[in-house]
Symmetry: C2
């Protein structure tokens, strides 16, 4: 095992070349499919729509390729579903020989809202460079245009900015070469008798499919990166659908391949120009390395991978335990040390306590297979952390766990401590009932947090309620026209974005694809 | 000689494949030179500047490549002189690993004005696609950027539109791979004792050089095309400077290679995707095929080319004579039938009469070498046209030739009828003296028309005045900071554009490069 040091601003990283080379060997082939538009749309502002814009569909006019477009003309192409790929078209002139370059603008959108709201109005705090657009200047016509960047869209707005008085443009062969590493060979259709659940399953599967590229990306529009929190959920859905377990394995080796000097895995990796660990380190995400490895081993029984990666998993356990106070509680702080949910006001302490216990239980599963000596230690730690939580985080008057110095009551705290199996079954059942009857003010903002809510419901036997919640929440997105599940969805505030603009939200997001896991694994 | 028909909207064209293949065989090699910036500039609005903007130069800070650029930052690079070529740079990130695409904007300008005036303010009637700009999105850093289009510039404004909060950009290896087919081997420096004239000569030569690409382009920024009116003047300068006579020959074969069904040569050709004749046909420009061929034969005595192209030249004579009325005067009309000058109010009839006679004299030069039988006919026509002009266009009271139904008096009419050698030397001398003393209201707008003015001055022996006018007019551009001569220049209205915006004017334009011809040929 050869190792090197990578300097990343002020941080130092270990690179494990054997792991990286194993990951390289697992690089999946990308399937390409050439997709034609199914129609054109007009978009109109409509406050009854979740995202405020409605697409009025027309079949693709056969005359589109005969239509001459002059400066100012625009057309919105509809590919009929959410796609990831490379866009191209054929552009020719009509009229006199083109005596000026043709300037065309393309806007790509996962949703009708991105077609309706001018990008110039964007004022979110994430980089505007994520807004998918391109301006091209064609000096010679005809030209077979192939835009060099990968886009993520259902709709493409094509606008002619300028030609000259002497010629117009005709467009043809509009297409998207879609990309995915998902191979549907092992994929069975669910054929759920409930039409909405069946649709939810299909949308889940498409969401996962479009996020499956050279790695499990979090979102093919944004951030197009391998995040550990997303990977864990994608892997769970994958075991029930595509069963491309080598892609999970590849991602685990990648995380283990570039770790911080102290051995901590990063919250996310960049793949290009080389595998680079981001300098964002999160308590919960690092621990999910352990959970993801345990789920992978449970699905595959891949002993070699367990032997290779157990030291990395164990190191996450050690580092996480290092943050536990003498009193057995994860220490809180004001910086971005744990993710849990996209929520401005959420205190992370109690949910992180839950994540830690949950992942220690996953570690114990693995230790039983490879590191028996540590099983006892892990059991002792799990008990200690559970007891400490019950003693110090439980508020008997409120009937809820509280978090942080301000003793905050949040959904996330209850859910993660239920998933940590605190208390007996009755205790957890009653806690969940209380949560349902009287939800704390600090609620849930993301499908990611909703996943854990559903998981917690199932863990206490509330499968009927879990099904209803899936229909209500993910079904709400389906009814709002989602082709793939969104990064963010709050039925009461459909415009919600933690980034300051719905335009920059991802509308095909890995952490939102888990209904297919619940429906298929638990037969909901 | 094989011929085909090309359908070009409703017009039909003859393609002469032997001529086109001869032109192909003369395709010049392009010389590439990698140019580094010489400094950076700030631009400030300054009404004392000809184009309203001043560039304040600073040497290239050694620290530029160390400087971190954040969103909103911009830098204006100065290549020190006018260039044509492909732009590139190396872009890397500074800070955390780049977690969003980098969006950069480039604006290319031949002048400081293009750096100062936002392109969004452009409202001219030529296509805005000529405004040289590019937006790029870099998904992976570092990247060696090479923009795919050829640009024409002295200055490049580089603006960082967006990155993310986690990284900035560092730029290095900023360069332009300049292109020209001009080969300076035969070029001698003039070393004129008058410093301004010496500078005018050098600027002329650079103007020609930057227009010499695969053909003689009219302007490398706009229209980047082979125009006959420009070609004629470029060829004249070329014989005195680069002596790349094969490039003239190539352009003549190209014009003869694609002619209208009736044999008329187009005013201009497009080179890509194939040789295409524009559907703009101009009385004067078609006749200049004859003049350009005569000048080429005078310079080279290339008998084969004369034999090949004389029929095309003769056909232009026939077609032009077809427009002459029974009274021996070129018929006027309201459409764009002759160019003469960029002037809204100019009547073209009398100047066109001059152009016709001038080109018939050029045809006679050629006929003497190849088609003796037609010499007498040409002489008769020349005399008939001269007499008709004197009888019907001369206004004894005004002491000027008049043009069109409204009997307009213009500089262009006098100049072209002087160049047509109407009347005796004294008559023409007096006419020019009168023009100088009392210029008609309809003046001259372009260096192109100014060329013919200088030519007319020299033709009547006013070489001293010609020199003064060159110093005043082209010297004015030099003093205004021109690296190359501009398409349009009116000292009284430096903002003048026949296209509605100075931004779209070409600032390196073929028809403006002729001082080097006058200075070198006539030893001014």
């Amino acid at each position: 095992m050869s190792q090197g040091i990578q300097k990343n601003s002020s941080l130092r990283f270990h690179r494990n070349s054997r792991f990286l080379s194993a990951a390289d060997g697992l690089l999946p082939a990308l399937q390409q499919t050439r997709l034609q538009p199914v129609g054109v749309v007009d978009v109109i502002a409509d406050t009854s729509e979740a995202l405020g814009w409605k697409a009025i569909k027309s079949p693709l006019p056969a005359s589109l390729i005969e239509r001459e477009l002059a400066p100012g003309d625009e057309v919105i192409i509809d590919f009929g579903t959410h796609c990831v790929g490379y866009f191209g078209l054929h552009c020719e002139s009509a009229g006199s020989p083109p005596d000026a370059p043709a300037h065309l603008q393309f806007i790509f959108g996962e949703t009708a809202a991105e077609m309706g709201v001018p990008f110039s109005e964007y004022s979110g705090w994430l980089s505007s460079s994520w807004l998918q657009q391109a301006d091209i200047y064609l000096d010679v016509l005809p030209e077979q245009v192939r835009l060099p960047r990968r886009y993520c869209c259902r709709y493409v707005k094509i606008k002619v900015i300028s030609t000259s008085a002497k010629f117009n443009l005709k467009l043809s062969d509009i297409h998207l070469n879609t990309l995915t590493s998902a191979d549907s060979t092992s994929l069975a259709r669910l054929h759920h008798p409930d039409a909405l659940l069946d649709q939810i399953d299909q949308v889940s599967v498409l969401t996962l499919r479009n996020c499956m590229q050279e790695v499990f990306e979090d979102g093919p529009k944004r951030d197009r990166r391998l995040w550990l929190g997303d990977l864990r959920l994608q892997a769970l859905v994958n075991y029930q659908t595509f069963e491309q377990n080598d892609l999970v394995k590849r991602c685990l080796y990648l995380f283990a391949g570039v770790t911080r000097e102290d051995g901590m895995v990063s919250s996310n990796l960049f793949m290009k120009p080389d595998v680079i660990a981001d300098d964002t380190f999160l308590f919960d995400y690092a621990l999910f390395f352990v959970a993801t490895l345990a789920d992978y081993i449970a699905a595959t029984n891949d002993q070699q991978t367990l032997e290779d990666l157990w030291p990395t998993a164990w190191r996450q356990v050690e580092l996480a335990l290092g943050r536990v106070s003498e009193k057995g509680i994860v220490q809180d702080s004001d910086d971005w040390w744990a993710f849990i949910d996209w929520h401005e006001s959420l205190n992370k302490q109690a949910p992180a306590q839950g994540v830690l216990i949950y992942c220690l239980m996953k570690a114990r599963e693995l230790a039983r297979k490879i590191d028996g000596e540590n099983v006892t230690l892990l059991t002792a730690k799990i008990d200690e952390l559970k007891n400490a939580a019950m003693e110090q985080l439980w508020d008997e008057n409120k009937g809820f766990f509280v978090s942080g110095a301000a003793q905050q009551t949040s959904c996330a705290s209850q859910i993660w401590l239920v998933l940590a199996e605190i208390g007996d079954n009755d205790f957890r059942s009653q806690l969940i009932s209380r949560l349902l009857a009287n939800p704390p003010e600090i609620g849930m903002n993301t499908p990611y947090m909703m996943h854990h809510f559903i998981d917690a419901l199932i863990s206490v036997g509330e499968t009927r309620r879990a099904t209803l919640e899936i229909k209500k929440y993910w079904g709400g997105m389906v009814q709002a026209g989602a082709d793939t599940f969104w990064e963010l969805y709050d039925p009461k505030r459909p415009d919600f974005s933690p980034y300051g603009s719905k335009l920059i939200n991802s509308y095909c997001h890995a952490w939102s694809c888990t209904p297919a896991y619940f429906l298929r694994k638990y037969g909901l």
